[in-house]
């Protein structure tokens, strides 16, 4: 049975390696992904800041297409896409009136049959930590990987998270530990990186992301693990600006969860796209004997 896959817009741009490594890792795990054909952007923050109907209709078109394609589930790797798809699904599930109204806007009916999930939740629920452990061929020994959940993977908790405590989520930590790495407790797991203010108020993003890097360094982390292209963009791509502002060059590699998994599951480094990062992870991986 194939799982529906919604890559999201960043998978074709700044987070190419997230898409590349996710596909590689799924092959290793024997998971068949089927892309939702002709998917469109979820609308992200600009949509819900502009029109509630638009913010529901854009994700719902994707859900309707996935259903029409015969899929039972839709999995995405982006926390922001996940949040929009899941909130739209839950909203129309709650309110038949809203469902009818949005179906009319979309022009394709959605019948609420899909399971909407994020890659991290998918790994935890559908693959399971035990199976993941069995598949590890290169344990990530001595790697201290600080798991960063950001905002939209856990909030609003009643709609999107499967973690018991949204203020201190642990699902990603469990995955990272299953890969043989250490996941330290740290202060900034769910602090905001500035998210959609990336271009419009870059100064705020530099400040907030700088705090996150500082906290990870304080926890002695070798890298930060992320599960969202926007968190990644702010933490990785802004590091040189953060360095010039804070006067500290953290040089902290930011790795997608799929990349870290790829290494542990024995995918070749070159096939994961890790060399596309602004802050190179090569030295850290060499030091740990993983490259």
């Amino acid at each position: 049975m194939a799982y529906g896959y919604y890559p999201g817009c960043s998978a074709h741009g700044t987070a190419k390696e997230y898409d590349i490594s996710t596909r590689k890792v799924c092959v290793k795990l024997g998971i068949q992904l089927e892309d939702v054909a002709d998917w469109n952007c979820c609308g992200a923050s600009p949509a819900h800041a502009t029109s509630e109907e638009l913010s529901l209709a854009l994700p719902l078109r994707n859900l309707a297409l996935a259903e029409k394609q015969g899929l039972n589930s839709i999995m995405t790797t982006c926390s922001a896409c996940y949040n929009r798809l899941k909130v739209a699904h839950e909203t129309v599930k709650e309110s038949p009136e809203t469902l009818n109204r949005i179906n009319d806007i979309v022009g394709e009916p959605y019948n609420k049959t899909l399971k909407v999930t994020h890659f991290v939740n998918f790994l935890f629920e559908e693959v399971g930590l035990e199976k993941l452990k069995e598949k590890v061929v290169k344990p990530l020994e001595n790697v201290k990987a600080a798991c960063y959940y950001g905002c939209l993977l856990t909030r609003p908790p009643e709609l999107v998270t499967i973690d018991a405590d949204p203020e201190n989520p642990t699902i990603m930590d469990g995955i990272v530990e299953a890969l043989g790495a250490e996941a330290p407790d740290w202060s900034h797991k769910t602090e905001c990186c500035g998210a959609s203010l990336a271009l419009s108020r870059t100064d705020i993003v530099v400040r907030l992301s700088g705090e996150i890097l500082k906290a990870a360094r304080f926890a002695d982390a070798d890298c930060i693990v992320v599960a969202c292209p926007l968190c990644y963009a702010n933490l990785d791509m802004r590091q040189s600006q953060i360095a010039s502002r804070h006067g500290v060059d953290y040089s902290l590699p930011i790795l997608f969860i799929s990349e870290l998994m790829g290494i542990a599951l024995g995918v070749n480094y070159d096939e994961l796209g890790i060399d596309k990062h602004m802050v190179s992870a090569a030295n850290m991986l060499k030091e740990k004997g993983l490259m």
Binding site: G13, T14, N40, A49, L58, L199, M237
Partner: protein, 188 residues
């Protein structure tokens, strides 16, 4: 600051509650939203102040505040509110209302970003990050913003000028045309 209240004081609060579907009257000013807000240091009105101003019906003060435009939509406030007030949803409502009623925005770059972003989706079905950044820089007259970063991204193969359009662009355009803001909800 001294505010002059008038007879219509309740109306604005009721309007916001109706449009957002969130009961704003239950906020009792504990300040937890403000304590957890990551952007509060940039705000002229803190989130709990916005809530109080809405309750007092001070429409102009609220709708000309830059606070909703600075909100990063991280939803920490909504998650932590002991009265289950969806403050992030209120911020959306205020943004939409401020746009509709033509209030002078104090965070023009955020408004510009949202518009360019949505135009890109409307025309192509998907967001093209490279184009978004270039158009944003041109429209906000920041010609050299992130140029160094752009060069580095180019070397990593992450800059693309090709069209990432979908087949269903007409379907997406139709969604934009049929979608309305909160204000039109009652008209249907």
């Amino acid at each position: 600051m001294i505010y002059q209240l008038n007879a219509n004081v309740r109306n604005f609060g009721e309007t916001i509650s109706e449009l957002s579907g969130v009961d704003i009257s239950t906020c009792y000013q504990c300040g937890k939203c403000t304590a957890g807000c990551p952007v509060v240091m940039e705000m002229s009105h803190t989130p709990n102040q916005i809530m109080r101003l809405i309750q007092l019906g001070l429409k102009d003060e609220v709708l000309s505040s830059p606070t909703p435009w600075l909100c990063a939509s991280c939803e920490t406030c909504t998650t932590r509110c002991p009265k289950e007030v969806d403050i992030a949803k209120i911020m959306d409502t205020l943004r939409i209302l401020a746009l509709k009623e033509g209030y002078k925005r104090k965070e023009p770059n955020v408004v510009a970003f949202n518009k360019i972003f949505l135009d890109s989706i409307k025309n192509n079905g998907r967001l093209q990050e490279t184009k978004l950044a270039i158009v944003f820089n041109l429209k906000t007259l920041q010609f050299f913003k992130d140029m160094m970063l752009g060069q580095k991204l180019f070397k990593k193969g992450k800059i693309s000028f090709s069209n990432d359009s979908i087949k269903g662009t007409d379907a997406v355009k139709a969604i934009f045309e049929r979608s309305k803001g909160f204000l039109n909800k009652g008209e249907r």
